[in-house]
């Protein structure tokens, strides 16, 4: 690092001596460390991944066998691989709940509420927690005769307890619920920030004009945070395909909870099918890029004005 910096200095001075060249020579060097890291750890992997995805390779063998589109065909036809898209739907559905809860509390806490900062802190706090810790906290909550079962017993719902993580019909719902617990705080703080950036005079003016809370929400808050809400929905789609930590830590992908990334991880690092795993990653990447493109089309930048 420091070697690079000292190398920059003479170049700077040389540049000052000849004004014509200074613009072209030195500043580029300042970007170089960032650019090298970016290319080595983002662009080269993406390029390699494309290359691997058309081959059959175990990651060790010096030679790779060309495989054409076989890996892609398998991602879309093999049930084991197709299923992971469906698992993503659980998390996508959960993100609606997440956004709704976050929006409700952001609106409530943007008005005068006692212990406002305390509530804000509590609602946001789970987002800061370590993913492994969250996984263990919820393994403990969901275990048979654990916290959830005990609470249900106290509420007289004792006969409705299940194997929350063991029952394949329920496991994904439990895991998606954990994900809601963990990430609602982020949406909440983002929405709250957007609401609070609306100038207070607008509410006062509206109140003078006789607007009630619902009118204020409908005509002031909603347009002001439309952009961040739409953005949250688009992030929710790519987020629900990239779920990894919660299912990996809590069930390891057992009981039908293998998400896209858990499956890609196991394919690559446990079954050593680098080509197939790369094809999965390429598909995911294309989906994310497509969504971002749609987002740019649907939400042009000029809409930023109010938020």
């Amino acid at each position: 690092m420091s070697a690079q910096l000292t190398a920059v200095r003479p170049a700077v001075q040389a540049g000052r001596a000849r004004p014509g060249t200074k613009i072209f020579r030195t500043p580029g060097l300042y970007v170089l460390p960032a650019l090298i890291l970016l290319i080595t750890f983002t662009y080269v992997p993406v390029g390699n991944m494309l290359w691997y995805s058309f081959h059959k390779w175990d990651g060790l063998d010096p030679t790779m066998d060309p495989a054409g589109f076989d890996n892609y065909a398998r991602v879309f036809t093999d049930d084991q691989y197709r299923r992971v898209f469906l698992i993503g739907l659980y998390y996508f559905a959960a993100s609606f709940a997440q956004i709704a809860i976050a929006l409700y509390f952001a609106v409530v806490l943007s008005f005068n509420v006692r212990f406002r900062n305390l509530f804000k802190g509590i609602l946001f706090f789970p987002y800061l927690l370590n993913g492994v810790a969250v996984g263990f906290v919820f393994l403990y909550l969901f275990q048979p005769e654990g916290t959830l079962d005990t609470l249900m017993g106290m509420l007289g719902l004792g006969e409705h307890t299940r194997l929350w993580l063991g029952d394949p019909d329920l496991a994904n719902i439990s895991l998606a619920g954990t994900s809601v617990w963990r990430f609602t705080g982020l949406n909440f703080v983002l929405f709250l920030g957007a609401i609070q950036s609306i100038p207070g005079e607008i509410y006062e003016a509206a109140e003078i004009d006789g607007a009630n809370r619902w009118h204020q929400f409908r005509h002031i808050i909603a347009p002001g945070i439309r952009r961040i809400i739409s953005l949250s929905f688009i992030l929710a789609i790519s987020g629900s395909l990239s779920v990894f930590e919660i299912p990996f830590i809590m069930t390891g992908g057992a009981n039908g909870t293998r998400t896209f990334v858990v499956q890609a991880y196991q394919t690559a690092f446990q079954f050593r099918q680098i080509g197939l795993a790369s094809a999965m990653a390429v598909v995911l990447l294309l989906i994310v890029l497509l969504l971002t493109w749609i987002q740019r089309r649907v939400l042009p930048d000029e809409e930023v004005t109010l938020s």
Binding site: L5, V31, N130, G131, F136, T147
Partner: protein, 273 residues
Amino acid sequence: MSRVARAAKYASLILASLAVLIPLVVVLFAAFKTHAEYNTTGPLTPPRNWLNFHNFATAWTAGDMLRGFWNTTFILVVSLTGTVAVGTLAAYAISRFVFPFKRLVLGLFLVAALVPGVTTQVATYQIVKSMGLVNTPWSAIVLFMGTDIVSIYIFIQFMQSIPQSIDQAAMIDGANRFTVYRKVILPLMKPAIATVVIIKGIAIYNEFYIPFLYLRSPNLSVISTALFRFKGPYGAQWETIAACTMIVIIPTVVIFLLLQRFIYNGITAGATK
């Protein structure tokens, strides 16, 4: 507001707070219970002795948590220093100078922000392996430094609010570009650096996938992977797992209480770039 609406509002807030806190509090309860007590009492029963630190001691030594914290701290400090140095230098060049291929460079940073890190690990692993960095802390460090585009955005945004006339004045006084960066820009960037250090610091402390993939050897455990190791062998000793979970959570609580305002601002700045 009517009395019913008010009551409903507070009821919903209290309910949500309970939903956040109960899962954590029961783990705290379990962490203070003896093994026999854990087996005989329900999860909602508070521990008999709040000063029973036995489980914490077991977890601390069995999980080799001191090493975990040391490794996490080392990786955290080096990658944060690196991110700030690399990011501010790049932002300085991008926001202040014209250089060839600048638009291309900017475009590369922009597009890279869209690539989710988890998806490319299959291929990144081969590169890190070919550099001989697997099973050294440097694998995590270069990846934390190299995959960070958000902080460059934050730096660029902040730098655009520093008037150019300040650097021009320093230049007229004879400072070269690096001196301007070092003596003028960097000190003025403190708020942006604080934001990046906080949000990135929390992200690195919580990161699981990268250390799990690259730091397999037990003496390279960071706190996430050290905690994860409890999963198999301690399956029947929840009170120990609970204590270790609390050991990992407590630093986050302390940081949050101390730096609340900065964390909120940082999260908002980082997510809406």
